[in-house]
Subunit: 208 residues, 2 copies
DNA sequence: ATATAATCCAAGTAATTACTCGGAAAACTC
DNA sequence: GAGTTTTCCGAGTAATTACTTGGATTATAT
């Protein structure tokens, strides 16, 4: 694995602009092409800086991608933490619906970038920012299961929570990546929350 | 998209061996390295044939990968069809458990290859063989839902079936990819089947 | 046996890649 | 304003890539 940290943080306003332009350019390129087409020379060109300027701040191509992922994920994390605290006062079913909605919502704007990063770039799913966000989803499903224990509890609490969070995570991605109207996406998101609740609790949220 | 069909099928035994050696070599390389490291020259070298021999049968690198995917997926499809017919006489819950077990089982042997192909190679998830197998999973979840209608039916049958199959598909992959004992994998697989049943039917398979 | 078709291949090519070099220009420090 | 640090960059490089060429070798057909 190559070094994924920027080799130098910009210290002046001018270079901070270059640094940001490089990261933004990488995102812009991923919006329109595959990861395969993402080259350092193209990033620099798109960013309007010389290729040597890119290597002034990043040790290699992967570090640029890692920085982009970090930026995207902090937005997602902020969103999720906020949603989590909002949901803390809710009943289990509205809480799950709310969290699911926010999770999908925090991905849709940049869905093309997320799709390439999370589904094509080998090292991205292993990045701390991504791993931590997935862990938060596992915590959520644990919490729902405890708060609203079903008629029959699940026999393997940890494993089931892990499975539920894996399924939820992947389905959130799929729903966010879909190219449908926002109305349709909202419907699918609600159904996804319902299915998650069914898994965790063992009965439908609208059942007696 | 490049042409994914082999440019020429081998007609003699000698060339059939070369053809197979090329596909096998690609699989062998993917077992140990990323897709990025899969090059035509390396494939030919691993296969013990000249690079020009590879291009005698395949128009490009992607066609080799597509042929490998086709071979891997026919084995999965055969497995699934057999499992499907076996499950046709069963009650819904044993049927789901059986199908899930077979799905995971048909991936584990080549999990390293499947992981790279399905999670890193952009065009593989769109290949007909893969799309068709996923469609079969959607049909399964539909069937379970109808056969064992829950206390409260799902409000959006098609969308819910799609969501369930997406979640099941991804979870099957995750469970198959895990590096755990076969005993642990069997436990996880059963729990996955249970969660799927909960989603589709709205109650636990062991509940009254 | 001869002609035809299938199979093989090592060396080579053109393009692309990630990344470096050597130094100029601009911005801070005192 | 002299000196120091930061920022910038385009030309260049070494390595790697997918793929071609031109022909040799082997099998099949008649």
């Amino acid at each position: 694995m190559p070094d994924l940290k920027p080799k130098k943080r910009p210290k002046q306003a001018r270079s901070r602009a270059s640094f940001d332009a490089i990261v933004d350019a990488a995102a812009r390129l991923l919006r329109e092409r595959d990861y395969e087409a993402l080259t350092t020379n193209r990033i620099a060109e798109q960013a309007g800086v010389g290729i040597a300027t890119l290597y002034e701040f990043f040790p290699n191509k992967e570090a640029v991608v890692a920085e982009l992922v970090a930026r995207l994920m902090t937005r997602v994390e902020t969103n999720m933490e906020q949603a989590f605290s909002e949901a803390s006062g809710m009943e289990p079913w509205p809480a799950v619906a709310h969290m699911t909605r926010r999770a999908v919502g925090s991905l849709v704007d940049e869905r093309d970038v997320f799709r390439v990063l999370l589904r094509q770039v080998p090292f991205v799913p292993m990045l701390p920012a991504v791993v931590e966000t997935r862990a938060a989803l596992a915590a959520l499903s644990q919490r729902v299961r405890i708060h609203a224990a079903g008629a029959l509890d699940l026999p393997m609490p940890e494993e089931d929570a892990w499975l539920i969070s894996e399924m939820l995570y992947n389905a959130i991605l799929e729903v966010a990546f879909l190219d449908v109207s926002e109305r349709k996406r909202a419907e699918l998101t609600k159904e996804l929350a319902r299915l998650t609740y069914r898994m965790a609790v063992g009965r439908d949220p609208e059942a007696g």
